[in-house]
Symmetry: D2
Subunit: 375 residues, 4 copies
């Protein structure tokens, strides 16, 4: 639990958007975070309607995020927002985050952090220059307690020295031409950056691989593809990769695997064991051994690592899902804010994520040459 | 969405309780219901501490549920609670529900509705005598949209005339002697009623079978067991059953199936098809055909029946779980309250549930003789 | 391996039959049994054609099984058949087995052993009266090594005292009217006996439950059904049952569960653990524990009980299936013949199987009264 | 069925070997192929003992495969072997195959065909120079009818233009140092060739990808690894690949994925659908669609492509496994021999397989540069 209810402002998430709703569900679930203001849309109608539906004071519904920063900063400490949640399309993440941080507000941003590595490094400079500022990136999938369990098991040597990682995030919803708001900006370089699929979901795979293994990914040899004619950004890609300490792996991300919904999976094999997890069955973690039967580890069970026991809201067999994972990201950000002050881990992951995307694109443009990820 | 945010009072759910928290998570998730008061515990310390943690006005934290009814009834309509959520152990459901209904408050009760059939019939009399009163029972598992999808598919003839039903709810947590608050009252006749396992979870199986098939269960031939020595109530049981229109089936419930978490499953076979669902993988519904491949129907997909499309909060592949299902029960109760006034369906299911338990116990006590369920 | 290649005669299994081919595949697989003669069909054309295709000496292809017994009995010991495999429709099992046994030939019969309890008891009398005669029943599913592994684990106390058994055999192929040779005799009382579905597949479930638990089933309370109009024998049924030592359970068999292929499954729960197995994924055995993760036991792994290690032909991950299981039945029968002489276990199981069917039908005809299985 | 029973000679497969037994089980299963002679071992004791156990004429058990070719060639056409099955360690495949082909015997060889590309090209020259000679490679996994079903569905446009392929063959048995006969030669360059894992199992993955898609793999960018210290050949590797017509993919093979048994899987996604298959559950083929539920296609069902219907021995739900798949390879080779005379498809696949391995090793040695597969 957080010490007191935290006050959140939101940029983006007006009517018609998708991810804003999910952020609000997640923030609301545990009753520890209260939405107090928002710049939901530049369209005043949409902005007010959204605020009204959310029961907000309409004076705190802003059509311009800059105004929000200015006005909120003038409110008494007991009222003004504590942090800004950024849920806009990718290209707006950077200016909003920068404005918020400059105005002294903590930031919890949807990913990717920015459109490119330069931008994220600029954010990092601001964040690291200020001891108390916190920056978080909603790498939702780290919010699943069994992902943390996998990390904990590996950290304590449960599978021995890590050797090989398979990580994959495949979807099918962009297999044809898609005509909707979600698809539009994701396939537009101006709003998505230099990569489509890899920026959108490949970054989750990268982040998951680093988080679970506890190793930094150092090099990639990538082959990105555009399968749907006329599309301007990659809708598929695979990469060989290398991590610290001799770990090797394969990462794939695709939005043209027809029939796949949201299949993010990771499999890690070490010298003495393995772990396998898939986001679509998030309450199960498979553990393999050399000479013993494979085990099915299940959410909320007492045999899981101590460190993850607090992450469950319901007993075994009562499935928790994506919203709960997302809520865990919010809870953890809120708790970190209150107990540690300026939290930098999210910032560092954000920089590495953007560096990963740039390295992928560079490698793919250079005939899949091994390319260093320089964060 | 509900028309306006509804105000909820809660009885039970003080610190140390389990299900109260789940109700609050569920009620809070969609921002349509606000907890405004509670009689969380008869212990004043616990009651206040719970209220404080929940950010309640401490004046509206009552140590006596009767007081709550009295005081809240005197508040202006714009402030007083709209309905009471009952989350106490079983034996307290009846007196609280009765008091609430008599005071004119709608009731959303955890199940089973009461300790026995007489009590629930008394409640039903009150509810049916008052056009505007609503009574709901949190048969959580009906909150999964794919359960409603199964019902819709069957209702529109998707599997032909229903023939055979297998329904099962098995757990393992009471396989040995268990010494905790949850186990204590569930195995105590004074607090649980005439049945342990069947009252606690068999009723969910019964309710699910009736809901999905749209048929009333009419007769049972049951064999209840106490496997753990010294226990006073059944911890396991199976029953043959018959429903309207020639449907036959088998129902099992057990709390001694070691290693099972919360495995509620139903399989229904008709003349031309079948449907299979398991609560532990709630986002998947399996559909079988005579001469076509088995299909895997998945949550939030456009091909699901129109009627269930509104039940999902996230796109396909973003798993929703138990809390979301529970929240759907709250949402539906809230919406029904606002649009239809006095809602009686929950009351009728509650009566049938208690009649089912009594018939089971009678049958088991009479050498498994076929026994009518007289609701 | 057997000591020498055994010589087999076959009754039934002419062209157009199904199970005869499977028996031959099974007998042939390990090179330990040679088909030397057969009464494949009463139609001389069919009989010869079958023999020719199988590369048999046509002099040893008989149109009358009685002739086969007579003639073969006159051949020198080094040439005459060692045993008779019976693969006819059910109603012919008895007369052939009787004739073979009386002629001094061992019998390996498809199941059920006979049309009714009286017949099988008559066979048992013959078999038990002769020290050297062997009788086996091809309860194919016992040929899966993981079924034996389950039995071994339970026998050595691996799940504690057994409490509850769920056993089920469901298919969908008779959900409508079916017009073929296989369906014809199975739904004809004159050829199938007093039960259709239960005699055909329910007996496998019964046999599996007794084999795995090592307990005798003593009582049933059954509800058999005919769902397809005009059919004369049960095509579905469920029964509560009781075994020795307080074990309770549920058995279902059905041929009208649309879309199910050949789903024979058993789940057994004891005081400290459980085991789950399904014939359609026969190389996996699930083992549950009280406070440890569920384990996936896999065929051919070194951690399986020593007693079953010899039952696999290929290493882990190289799936063995139905034919291999069937071949194991043949191998075991052959080995038993050579090492133990007159083998009676199959006879006893055969008698219990018929007694089980009679008890089921009696119970179902008597309003599902608990009925003793008197073998 | 074959026209007449074919006579087989075998090289390799003495006592203590693994794959020889499997070949014999496969060849024997359908009664269409008879083992008549063998050069099972250079050790006379072993060779005779093997022959005796198999019921062979000991005069036809040769300690030298050259002798076998010479002697058998002198036998009358009605007695001499029709073809040679080669089941030795890899390095002996080539000399035996060459000797057999030169002596005019057809060859069915275990894979890989030879130690290197030059050798296999030499074989190809011999085979292609002789109209009647047949050469087959036991790419066992193509013997699963559902693999052929996948190929047929793709060939008829069932998933649209193919875009992306994931193919993977992972095992765990060489995760540590292993001290047995099977492991010894597989990790010895002199007996295994230039690659360990990729030669042993990566070739199956390559072959499966080409067979299922009907496309030739043209380029690879590979990263092979030796994870176990002191090992001389790769025990793991991944490669990006490209096929004709713009198909892209990822191929991984590993023998150090702890706990994996024999997990060969392929997933193919086209413009309008996808197919997924895993060797460890070979009787299931998953088919995905754009706007329809995923389907579970099952072995022996009438809805499968006509072309594969003959490949099943048992009805749906009676699992067929590895031995049956292997037997299908034998059956098909036998039938092809009899109906088409000199069969060259196996030879071509063999050449492509060796070229694939060489390209992988070259690429991996050249910093994962894209390398052409020049068959």
């Amino acid at each position: 639990m957080t010490e007191r209810v935290l006050r959140m402002g939101m940029v983006g998430g007006g009517q018609g958007a998708f991810i804003g709703d999910v952020h609000r569900l997640a923030a609301r679930l545990d009753g520890q975070i209260q939405l107090v203001c928002g710049a939901f849309s530049r369209d005043p109608e949409n902005c007010k309607a959204t605020g009204r539906q959310l029961g907000l004071d309409l004076d705190r519904c802003y059509t311009d995020y800059q105004d929000m920063m200015l006005v909120e900063a003038t409110l008494p400490a007991s009222e003004r927002m504590d942090f800004v949640a950024i849920v806009t399309p990718n290209h707006v993440h950077f200016p909003v985050a920068k404005a918020a941080l400059k105005a002294g507000f903590h930031v919890l941003s949807d990913k990717p952090a920015t459109l490119n590595l330069d931008e994220v490094k600029e954010l990092a400079k601001i964040v690291h220059a200020n001891d108390t500022l916190a920056y978080g990136l909603t790498h939702t999938y780290l919010g699943y307690p069994l992902v943390s369990a996998a990390r904990a098991i590996i950290a304590e040597g449960g599978i021995g020295k890590v050797r090989k990682v398979f990580v994959e995030y495949i979807q099918g919803w962009l297999a044809g031409e898609v005509d909707n708001k979600q698809a539009d900006w994701r396939t537009d370089p101006a709003r998505s950056g230099i990569s489509g699929c890899m920026g959108d979901i490949g970054t989750h795979a990268h982040n998951l691989a680093e988080y679970v293994t506890g190793k930094v990914m150092t090099h990639v040899a990538a082959d990105l593809s555009i399968f749907v004619e006329g599309r301007l950004l990659d809708d598929d890609g695979s990469a060989l990769f290398r991590m610290e300490d001799g770990v090797k792996g394969v990462l794939s991300a695709s939005q043209v695997c027809v029939g796949k919904e949201n299949s993010l999976s990771i499999r890690v094999y070490g010298e003495t064991g393995g772990l396998e997890w898939n986001q679509e069955e998030p309450n199960t973690l498979v553990r393999t051994y050399t000479d013993r039967p494979t085990e099915i580890l299940r959410a909320a069970q007492g045999y899981l690592p101590e460190a993850v026991q607090a992450g469950f809201r319901t007993p075994p067999g009562h499935p928790e899902g994506y919203i709960e994972a997302f809520a865990n990201i919010y809870l953890e950000f809120g708790r970190a804010l209150q107990t540690q002050g300026g939290v930098k881990a999210g910032m560092d992951a954000a920089v590495r994520g953007m560096a990963f995307v740039e390295a992928l694109v560079d490698s793919s443009n250079n005939n899949s040459t091994w390319t260093e990820i320089s964060a």
